[in-house]
């Protein structure tokens, strides 16, 4: 199967007064039709920069794409003139953000904002656009959409605003939705509603989702495949089952152990020592080595950055300490894995 979106060795840098910072390095990933790929990592790992680079939403300068390709159905978005890129944004690829308040314009009603997006991409008159807006608000579970259309964003709760953002994003039937921490600012019961909504909409419309998150619980519930990012690189890539059943990279293993789980009263948590590295001062060699329990003074860890190698069928990781690591093939990670039917939480 042909991936809908493919990143090939994308490297993005920022020019700062203190020199160049490479926020994203040689990132390759593939999102297949109807698939949800989760890009998971902690603050500063480069996951949001990756997402914004796909839509070319980071101003240049200070950012610069140093290399790589962003292929949407085989077409390199990085080569498109800005005019054509505008028709990609919103129409082919839509994006929703963490903070639904700052991404809605406070001086326009939500209806006006959705209609603007609809009229930009579809050849319809205002009345038809309002009908489309009303329908897409109904699709995301907003009660009384005909009345809500005329409300201003400040009148809506956080969960409702995120629904409006989703309605706006989906009003033009995009093929790919990029969701950057879509539920991080929401309460757990509202988060559950929004995640369920995304799953249902994906099934109905067959769109693909690139889900950016730091929350492994959200990954486990919504993703088909997972890319784990640490300090600007993908360090592990696998189907959601393989990743949670048999994590290979010491960072992924540490993260999974560090998450407090329900039903574990009073047990001591496993912690990853040290701190998340600052992108301006990445360590040499494997960027995880100062925090890694497997390093054990191995000079290779501090000296040589391990490439992402295929450890098994459909499973990639980058760690010198994996068995027979040096002989594994270096390939671009891609898996069209889907989660088993009915295994998602009902």
């Amino acid at each position: 199967m042909q991936p809908l979106l493919e990143l090939r060795n994308l490297t993005v840098a920022f020019d700062t007064e203190r020199g160049q910072i490479r926020a994203v390095q040689e990132v390759s990933l593939s999102v297949y039709p109807q698939q949800t790929l989760a890009l998971v990592g902690e603050s500063g790992c480069g996951k949001s920069v990756t997402a914004l680079s796909i839509l070319r939403l980071i101003p240049s300068p200070p950012s610069r794409v140093l290399g790589g390709q962003v292929l949407l159905e085989g077409r390199n978005l990085l080569d498109l003139p800005e005019k054509q890129m505008q028709s990609v944004r919103g129409k082919d690829i839509a994006m929703i953000f963490q903070e639904p308040m700052t991404s809605l314009n406070p001086v326009f009603t939500v209806g006006e904002q959705i209609v603007e997006a609809v009229r930009l991409h579809q050849n319809v008159n205002t009345k038809q656009a309002y009908e489309i807006a009303e329908q897409s608000m109904r699709d995301v579970g907003i009660a009384d959409p005909d009345k809500r259309l005329h409300e201003y964003p400040h009148r809506l709760s956080g969960g409702m605003r995120q629904r409006v953002m989703i309605a706006m994003a989906l009003s033009c039937q995009p093929k790919l939705l990029i969701a950057d921490e879509p539920t991080t600012a929401l309460d757990v019961t509202i988060q559950a509603q929004i995640l369920e909504l995304l799953r249902a909409l994906q099934q109905q419309r067959g769109m693909s989702i690139l889900l950016i998150t730091h929350d492994l619980g959200v990954v486990a519930e919504n993703a088909d495949a997972v890319a784990v990012m640490y300090a600007s690189r993908i360090v592990e890539y696998a189907s959601v089952y393989d990743l949670f059943d048999a994590p290979q990279h010491p960072y992924t293993q540490g993260l999974l152990r560090a998450v407090p789980r329900l039903g574990a009263v009073g047990q001591r948590l496993a912690a990853i020592p040290g701190t998340v590295p600052n992108p301006a001062r990445f360590p040499s060699g494997c960027k995880f080595h100062p925090r890694c329990p497997k390093m054990n003074g191995d000079p290779a860890c501090a000296g040589v950055e391990p490439a992402l190698r295929q450890i098994e069928q459909g499973h990639w990781a980058s760690c010198h300490h994996l068995p027979d690591f040096a002989n594994k093939p270096i390939t671009r990670p891609a898996t069209d894995a889907k989660r088993a039917e009915g295994s998602a939480v009902s």
């Binding site: 902690e42 603050s43 009660a143 009384d144 709760s157 956080g158 969960g159 409702m160 309460d187 757990v188 019961t189 509202i190 988060q191 559950a192 509603q193 995640l195 369920e196 730091h214 929350d215 492994l216 619980g217 959200v218 990954v219 486990a220 519930e221 993703a223 959601v240 089952y241 949670f244 540490g254 993260l255 999974l256 560090a258 998450v259 407090p260 789980r261 329900l262 039903g263 574990a264 009263v265 009073g266 047990q267 001591r268 948590l269 496993a270 912690a271 990853i272 020592p273 701190t275 998340v276 600052n278 925090r291 989660r339 295994s343 939480v345 009902s346």
Partner: protein, 379 residues
Amino acid sequence: MSDGPPRADQPLLQVRDLRTYFPIKRGLLSRTVGYIRAVDGVSFDIHPGKTLGLVGESGCGKTTVGRSILRLTPPTSGSITYQGQNFLAFRGRELRRLRRHMQIIFQDPISSLNPRMRVGNIIGEPIQVHGLARGNEKQDMVAALLRRVGLEESDANRYPHEFSGGQRQRIGIARALALSPDFIVCDEPVSALDVSIQSQILNLLADLRQERNIAYLFIAHNLAVIEHFSDEVAVMYLGRIVEKAAARELYANPKHPYTMALLSAAPEPDPRRKTGRIVPGGEVPSAAHPPGGCPFHPRCHLTRMAAEQAQAGESTVVSVKYRGTETLVSLPVLDVGGTMEIESGGQRFRVLRKCATQTPPLEPKQGEAGHLAACWVTR
């Protein structure tokens, strides 16, 4: 007034019927047109060296409880007893003296540290204000505190912006520890931190609890964190505690439908989890206009199910599948006053009349001793 060590058999802190209302002002003359009942009748005890976890969604009043106990936000009514003394009666110098024993750690480690002060002064200031030590002696205390929370002595000369989020939270903890408190309010202490850092801070707080016999009021929205860290857990909804029990008991055997919903909504790092999920309809109502009766009834799945059963004239016991286990819900049909229709989130539902009209008290439920819940429906 005795400042001796707290006795283990007596509660360190007793809170009774705590209420904190914020006036809603309108118009030219700023007339008070109503009140937001942020905290509306909350009672609990905390024993020395123990942790009470306070969990709930945003706007439920959990942060206001923490601030009211320390009188950072003045409570409207109720009583707070610290080591047998009426904390609300103290003024001026005496209040300051008592406050030494009660500290707070905030969620956001950047806005709670003064950016113009060196870390050494941030931690040393309370020591000086309370006259515990000066000069070299103070510096030694600061150095010992820094080492204890996992920082270096030389960090005393740096500014907060030079530290990462997790390190800043360590500075906040060192500042709270500076006066050797018996009680610390931890207000979402790890919510702003990365997962790999979160567990470091939780482990540090747990070690300090053991070493120094510190009691915590641990406020968080993350159920797994609360369960992991607390001896007892109280669940808040719209300014009230709706369920309270020992941590293990609450998670194994929740009695309030809101607790069930919170637990089942929490995403877990397990892609194969298959359990019925209870997603409460609608959203948390405004605390300025809380619904009458049980505040949760417009969103409650139990009262809806029970009302349907009652309407159909069916059995008085409803079973609810929850995280793989079944919970039985009794339905004393004669007692509930029949059913009625309500509107919630733009849709109409049938609920038990009693749920919509009378507020249930926080009362013992069948099961482990000390398990309290405020619900008409659960047995």
